[in-house]
Amino acid sequence: MDILANLMLGFSVALQPINLLYCFIGVFIGTLIGVLPGIGPVAAMSLLLPVTFNITPEAAIIMLAGIYYGSMYGGSTTAILVNIPGEAASVVTCLDGHQMARQGRAGPALGISAFGSFIAGTLAIVGLMLMAPTLARWAVKFGPAEYFSLMVLGLSILVYLSHGSLIKALAMAAVGLVLGLIGIDSINAMPRLTFGKLELLDGLGLVPLVMGLFGIAEILVNLEQKIAREIFDTRLGSLLPTKEDWKESAAPIARGSLLGFLLGILPGGGAVLSSFISYAVEKRVSKTPENFGKGAIAGVAGPEAANNAAAGGGFIPLMTLGIPPNVVMALLLGAFIVHGLQPGPLLMTQKPDLFWGIVASMYIGNVMLLVLNLPLIGMWVQVLRVPYAILFPLILLFCVIGVYSVANAIFDVYLMIGFGVVGYVMKKLEFEPAPLVLAFVLGPLLENNLRKALILSQGDFSTFLSRPISAVCLAVAALLLLSPLLPRLRATREVVAKEE
């Protein structure tokens, strides 16, 4: 009953005209950047973070969240029509979605992707509503040792699930941890790694770092390879899937929703991984696995549902524990902090209108996306026809404006360019930026909790092992990080990385 009353409170916030407007702007921009290859939700959210400084925290978070789940919808359009994933979570949609388009079934492919996303997004919100209060009550009992160990576990899972070399991912996490420490030490006010620069006293900005490593680096990599875009010139026909399509898609959507939601909660899981695993599951349970890769509608419905459910599930650790499970949520954490809010177990009791307003807005946003996507697919196709040579200078321009306007500092623009070059070299050397960024965000929290735990225990390291939750987190983290030494676990990780 409590949940119902809270949800009504949430809708009263989300349905305020100004919040509806920002929700619409969020999902619209999200769909647009999902459609456009070369700029993902992370870069777009960083770009718009400064724009939110002048609006209420509710409207800001509602808009930024809308960009995230909106991009999940938009990414499928590019994957199906152009065979280029608009963002990473849509990579598997290319396999069967584009084949369906080639067989003249682009309409049902886009349709089932939109409906599947809507159903999964809605189910994820229901899950969030049911799980978040319980988890928040439990999390109130967490002390510094538990927080420290949970963050170590989060980073370990992200590193374990990253593509390719485990050593490289670990090294990136280590670098990110130290980058996060730059600036004034919050415990004894000592400046660290500031090199006498006033601009660094507040630490490195999250926006220049993320825009450089994700936005600028992506553009630089795209510039050195010619992207062949073949937009499939066909009549879309009816976007409504047939009865037969629904029959084939219902179970994959249900499985994808559950899988995506659970993987979304896990630190490091997220939308990309869940879409790949959903595809693998659907192929395995299918009576006709030979049709996968040749236009099987289940190969579109399952992964699209999974990536949207994961987008919803990712809000749980952020909202209840204050720990972002992935880079997108790390950016949202940044947005909360900018607005003077600390997500965590107390958010629900101290700011129920904000928490439930965001939850309700996600439901409204999902309805908007369904209404927005089906009629506007023709417009998104036209957007795709803009040549990259015209598009990339404009993306660079928006990156510069976005970074500059955070603190009106040209220094941040130089930082972004510098991180862009670093990100470009990292991509070429197969180093992933995600562990670095998550560690950068978690670094100060991790250090703070480590130092507090040691002060409280008077320097007794066994505090991390004598507290059950902390001990379990550290044991799982150790198991994951030592997995390369265990042949069976190594094989599992290699399969996951290969499927990605």
Partner: protein
């Protein structure tokens, strides 16, 4: 990639040493009251360990000894050129202002990276600057450098 991995391993090792030295300078404190440099110092050692592992793994990977360079066959000079143009743009913006610097920045990129016709480049750069200015400065109240032209 083998050489790339060895080079990146060496760079990370150097970074690790830097963190260790900086951490020590900042002060390690006591275990019961860790200092400002405590975490940086230990993360530096951990990074050193990873970089050594990376170098050793790459060194022993004979199969990739003859891999092509990561720069071979790529148009990396385009990326380098765009970085240089962006740096110039950032340098010029506070002096000549957002509007003038942006028109020039876009014009140069439109005309030189994948050359567009003059009408497309001119209309594209002036039009996009105008839209960005109206959207960010006028509608959203963002402060951008006015420069000598006084528009910002």
């Amino acid at each position: 990639m083998r050489n790339g991995n060895i080079a990146s391993g060496l760079a990370l090792a150097a970074l690790g040493v830097f963190f260790i030295v900086e951490g020590q300078d900042l002060g390690l404190g006591r275990i019961s009251d860790p200092g400002s440099g405590f975490m940086m110092f230990w993360v530096g050692w951990i990074l050193m360990a990873f970089s050594v592992a990376l170098i050793v793994t790459a060194w022993r990977d004979e199969t990739r000894a003859n891999d092509r360079s990561i720069w071979a066959g790529r148009r990396w000079h385009k990326a380098a050129y765009v970085v240089a143009v962006m740096a110039l743009y950032a340098w010029a913006m506070p002096t000549i202002g957002f509007v003038a610097a942006t028109i020039l920045f876009l014009l140069v990129l439109f005309k030189t990276v994948e050359p567009q016709s003059w009408p497309v480049a001119l209309i594209g750069s002036a039009g996009s600057t105008a839209v960005a200015w109206l959207l960010f400065v006028k509608a959203l109240g963002t402060q951008l450098p006015a420069g000598v032209l006084g528009i910002g």
